[in-house]
C-alpha cells in the first residue's frame, strides 16, 4: 500500500531514466540523506562517530569498490586491502611532497595512483579467470605490503614504516572534531556511491555485466574485453584507494603497511558476499553487518551474561562473538545466497503486492 507505483506515470525519457524511478524510493533516499547529514550530527555521540559511523562509511566505500570489480565485472579479487594501502600511502606522500596541495586533491591523487596500480595487477585478468585470477590478485596483496616496508622513501624514512597522517585542512579550516570528519567522509562516500550507481547503469556498466555473465558472448556482440576489464580494475581500485586514504586520514590517523593485511581483504570480500554481490546498496548493508555486529554482540553479551549471572570475561565474549559471527554467515549463505540486498528487494516486491504477497 505504501510502496505502490500505481499512478506514477512517466511522460518523458528523463523521468524514465532517473536514478530512482519510483517516488517512494526518492523520498526514502532523500530522508536518509537528510538524517545522515543533519540528524546524525545533532544527536550522535563522539563514540558513534569515531568508532562506528566513520569506519562503517569507509568500509562501505571499499566494499563498493570491490563490488564494482567482482559483483559487476565478475573479476574475483583478493587485493582490496592492498589497493587501500596504495591510496593511503599515496595520499600521504602527495600531501608531504607537493607544497600546498589541497587535501581533497591528495585523496583524488591517492585514488588515481591506486587505479594505476590496480590496472597493473588487472593485466593477468586478460588471460585468466575465476579462482586463478583471485590468486593473481593475491600477489598484489603481498607485493604492495612488502614494497611499502622495503622502500623507506614511501613512509618518509620513518624508522618503523608507520606513517602519521597530516592535518585535514579544507579551505583554510582544520577538521578536528569527529563530527567534521564524519561529514567529510559522508560527503565523499555519497558522491562516489551516486557516481557508481550511475556508472553501472551506463553502457560501461552493461558491458561489465555482459563480460561477467559470459565473456565469449560479450566479445561476440562487440564488447572489447581488454578495455572493459581493465577499466573495471581501474575504477574499483580508485574506490578502494580513496577508501584507504580516508581510512588513514579520517579514521586511524596513523597506519602501517601490516595493517592492510589479507585479513582486511577477506573482510571486504565477506562484506560484499553478505551484503549482496552486484548491488550498490549491498555494499553498505554488508559493511554494516560485518562491522556493527561484533560491536553489538560486544555490548549485548556482557549485558545478558550479567542478567543470568554468567561469569563472562572479555575473552569469552570475544570467542562467542566469533562463533555467532561464523554461524550467522553460514545461515545467511544458506537462506539467502544473494545477500542482504536481495532480502531487501524481496521485501520491496512483497510490499508492492501487499496485502496479499506471495
Amino acid at each position: 500500500m505504501l510502496y505502490r507505483e500505481a499512478g506514477q506515470f512517466k511522460t518523458t525519457y528523463a523521468a524514465d531514466q532517473q536514478l530512482f524511478p519510483i517516488r517512494q524510493d526518492r523520498i526514502g533516499v532523500i530522508t536518509l540523506l537528510l538524517i545522515a547529514f543533519i540528524g546524525v550530527p545533532l544527536f550522535a555521540s563522539e563514540y558513534w562517530f569515531s568508532a562506528i559511523l566513520i569506519p562503517f562509511l569507509i568500509f562501505a566505500l571499499a566494499a563498493l569498490g570491490l563490488n564494482i570489480l567482482t559483483g559487476y565485472a565478475g573479476q574475483l579479487s583478493l587485493g582490496s586491502a592492498a589497493f587501500m594501502a596504495v591510496g593511503a600511502y599515496a595520499a600521504y606522500n602527495f600531501q608531504l611532497r607537493v607544497e600546498g596541495i589541497p587535501i581533497l586533491v591528495s585523496f583524488l591523487c591517492g585514488g588515481l595512483t591506486a587505479a594505476a596500480v590496480g590496472v597493473l595487477f588487472g593485466l593477468p585478468s586478460l588471460r585468466i579467470k575465476g579462482f586463478y585470477l583471485a590468486v593473481a590478485t593475491l600477489a598484489a596483496q603481498f607485493f604492495i605490503v612488502w614494497c611499502l616496508t622495503k622502500f623507506p622513501w614511501l613512509s618518509n624514512n620513518s624508522s618503523s614504516g608507520v606513517i602519521s597522517t597530516q592535518q585535514l585542512i579544507i579551505f583554510g579550516h582544520e577538521l578536528k572534531t569527529p563530527t567534521e570528519k564524519y561529514l567529510l567522509v559522508l560527503s565523499i562516500v555519497v558522491l562516489l556511491a551516486l557516481a557508481a550507481k550511475n556508472l553501472v547503469r551506463s553502457s560501461t556498466g552493461r558491458a561489465w555485466m555482459a563480460v561477467r555473465d559470459m565473456d565469449v558472448a560479450a566479445s561476440v556482440i562487440g564488447i572489447k574485453l581488454m578495455p572493459t576489464k581493465l577499466l573495471a580494475f581501474a575504477i574499483s581500485s580508485f574506490y578502494c584507494g580513496v577508501a584507504g586514504a580516508l581510512y588513514a586520514f579520517c579514521y586511524l590517523g596513523s597506519v602501517e603497511p601490516d595493517g592492510f593485511s589479507l585479513d582486511m581483504s577477506f573482510k571486504i570480500l565477506f562484506m560484499i558476499i553478505i551484503g549482496g554481490v552486484g548491488s550498490i546498496m549491498g555494499s553498505f548493508l554488508g559493511a554494516a553487518f560485518i562491522l556493527l555486529l561484533p560491536i553489538l554482540l560486544d555490548v549485548l553479551l556482557p549485558f545478558f551474561a550479567g542478567l543470568f549471572g554468567l561469569p563472562f570475561s572479555s575473552a569469552t565474549v570475544s570467542h562467542i562473538q566469533i562463533l555467532v559471527f561464523g554461524a550467522l554467515i553460514m545461515f545467511f549463505l544458506i537462506v539467502e545466497p544473494h545477500g542482504l540486498a536481495r532480502l531487501w528487494q524481496i521485501a520491496k516486491e512483497k510490499l508492492r503486492l501487499w496485502p496479499f504477497p506471495h
Binding site: 569506519p55 624508522s159 602519521s164 579514521y251 586511524l252 590517523g253 560491536i295 560486544d298 549471572g309 575473552a315
Partner: protein
C-alpha cells in the same frame, strides 16, 4: 512460587549490595584497559594483563586502594587489531573522563593510532618498551610515555653488553642483526647503525618475513657470514624457529642475544633443548623470588580474586612485566595524589603530570617488594623514558637467570636521534613544542 522468587530476590539483594558498595567507595581511580586475550598474541596478553589486574586488586585488598581511592578497571578486547583498539579506546574514553590511569595497549600499532587522539582527549598513554619511541621527547608528545626503556636504548645496551664480554673492544667484529621485517623489527636499526660506526664493528642486517616460521635461507647466510654475535629481534612463532634453526646450523646459542619480546617462557619452552644458553634482554626478572610476586599470589589468589585461570603463569616474564607496568601506574597515581590532594581520584591531565614527574628509587622499589622487577625510574618533561636500562638474562633450560646488572644504553648517542625524529613529527603535524625548562 518461592522457587521463582528466589533468583529475583537474590538479584535484588545483589543489586542492593552493589549499590551500597558503590556508595561506600566514594572515590575510584579508573583504568581503561584495551587488552587482548584472544587472537594471535592472546597468550602474551593473558599473562601481561593478568599480572596488571592482579596488582590492582592487590593494592585494593592490601591497602584499600591508594590512600583510600579504589582502583577499578574495565577491559575491552582488541585482539591486537588496530581498528578494534581504536573502537575500544573510544568506548572506554567516556568512563575515563572523570578519572584515568595510564592506558597500556601493549601494541605498537594501537599506540600509534592513539597518540594523536589521546593527546586531544588529555588521556595519558603508556608504552612500556614499545610504541612510538621518539615520544621520549615529551616537549612534542606531552601525553605519550615510552616508559622504562625503548628499542633503540635496548639495542645500544645489548651492544654495550657484548662489548664488555669482548674486553671492551668491538673493532673488526661482525654482528648479525636478525629481525622481524615489520615496524617492530626495524625500529632498532637506526641505533645499531649508529653503534656500528661508533664502535667500528660490521653490521649485517638480515630480515625475516612475517610470521617467521621459514628461516632456512637466513641461517644459511649467517653460516656463511660467520658472525661473532647475532642480535635477534623476533616475534611470536619466529623465536622458537630461530632457536631450532641455530641449533641445526650449529651456531652457539650463547652468542645469540634477543630483545625483550623474544625472551619469555612462551618463546623458549617450545624450542626445548635448543634454547639452552640463549640470552635475551629484559627489564624485569622472572620468578617468584621477587617478594611482591609471592605476596600477590598469597593475597590475591588466597582471596580467590586472581585474574589468571592458569596459575602456572604466575612468575613468568610476561606476568611479572604486567605487574611491573601496574606498579609503575599505581606509583604514578600516588605521586599525583601528593600534588592534587590525597584520597582524590586523578583525571587524565593530572595523571599525565604524575607520569612526567615520576621518581621511583631503588629504596621505594624495595619497600613495595619489587626489587629488580623494574629499574629505577626518574622521568621529566624532556625524558619520558626515565631509565633506559635493561638486564641480560640467560635460559638455563629450566628458568631465566639474570647474567648482568642493569645496563644503560648509550644515551648521548641515542637520545639525539629521538629529538631529531620528534622535531620532524612536530613540523609535519604543526605542533609547537613545549618549553621543557618551564615545566616543573
Amino acid at each position: 512460587m518461592i522457587k521463582t522468587c528466589k533468583p529475583v530476590l537474590a538479584a535484588a539483594a545483589l543489586a542492593v549490595a552493589m549499590l551500597s558498595q558503590n556508595a561506600l567507595a566514594a572515590e575510584e581511580q579508573f583504568f581503561p584497559m584495551t587488552s587482548y586475550r584472544v587472537g594471535p598474541y592472546g597468550a602474551n596478553g593473558q599473562s601481561f594483563y593478568g599480572g596488571f589486574i592482579d596488582y590492582l586488586n592487590y593494592v585494593n585488598l592490601k591497602e584499600k586502594g591508594v590512600n583510600g581511592v579504589q582502583l577499578t578497571y574495565e577491559e575491552c578486547e582488541t585482539e591486537y587489531n588496530n581498528a578494534k583498539g581504536v573502537e575500544c579506546y573510544e568506548r572506554l574514553k567516556g568512563k575515563a573522563a572523570k578519572s584515568a590511569g595510564p592506558i597500556h595497549t601493549m601494541s605498537t600499532g594501537i599506540s600509534y593510532a592513539l597518540i594523536d587522539k589521546s593527546a586531544q582527549d588529555k588521556l595519558p598513554l603508556a608504552m612500556m618498551g614499545y610504541g612510538r619511541t621518539d615520544a621520549v621527547d615529551g616537549s612534542v608528545f606531552p601525553y605519550a610515555f615510552p616508559l622504562v626503556t625503548t628499542y633503540q636504548m635496548q639495542a645500544s645496551a645489548i651492544v654495550k653488553f657484548i662489548k664488555e664480554k669482548n674486553g671492551g673492544n668491538l673493532a673488526g667484529k661482525k654482528i648479525v642483526y636478525l629481525y622481524h621485517d615489520s615496524a617492530y623489527g626495524k625500529e632498532a636499526i637506526i641505533a645499531l647503525e649508529a653503534e656500528a660506526s661508533l664502535n667500528k664493528f660490521q653490521l649485517v642486517q638480515i630480515p625475516v618475513a612475517h610470521p617467521g616460521n621459514e628461516q632456512g635461507a637466513q641461517w644459511l647466510k649467517i653460516r656463511q657470514e660467520k658472525p661473532d654475535f647475532v642480535i635477534f629481534w623476533g616475534w611470536g612463532v619466529m623465536n622458537q624457529t630461530a632457536l631450532k634453526a641455530a641449533q641445526k646450523v650449529g651456531f652457539p646459542r650463547d652468542k645469540m642475544i634477543g630483545s625483550w619480546w623474544t625472551g619469555s617462557e612462551e618463546d623458549v619452552v617450545p624450542a626445548g633443548e635448543s634454547a639452552k644458553g640463549y640470552m635475551a634482554a629484559t627489564w624485569n626478572v622472572a620468578g617468584k623470588n621477587v617478594p611482591l610476586i609471592a605476596d600477590i599470589e598469597k593475597t590475591v589468589y588466597g582471596a580467590g580474586k586472581g585474574n589468571l585461570s592458569d596459575k602456572a603463569k604466575i612468575g613468568t616474564i610476561l606476568y611479572n612485566r604486567g605487574v611491573s607496568a601496574a606498579v609503575l601506574s599505581v606509583e604514578a597515581i600516588r605521586k599525583g595524589q601528593e600534588k592534587y590532594g590525597k584520597g582524590k581520584a586523578l583525571n587524565g591531565e593530572q595523571t599525565r603530570w604524575a607520569l612526567e614527574n615520576l621518581n621511583i628509587t631503588e629504596a621505594r622499589l624495595k619497600q613495595i617488594g619489587a626489587t629488580d622487577l623494574l629499574p629505577e625510574i626518574k622521568t621529566s618533561c624532556d625524558n619520558h623514558e626515565g631509565s633506559g636500562k635493561v638486564k641480560i638474562q640467560q635460559w638455563d633450560g629450566d628458568k631465566w637467570v639474570p647474567v648482568s646488572g642493569w645496563i644503560e644504553g648509550n644515551k648521548a648517542l641515542i637520545h639525539p636521534l629521538f629529538q631529531a625524529s620528534a622535531k620532524q613529527y612536530a613540523k609535519e603535524k604543526g605542533i609547537t613544542p613545549r618549553d621543557c625548562s618551564k615545566e616543573k
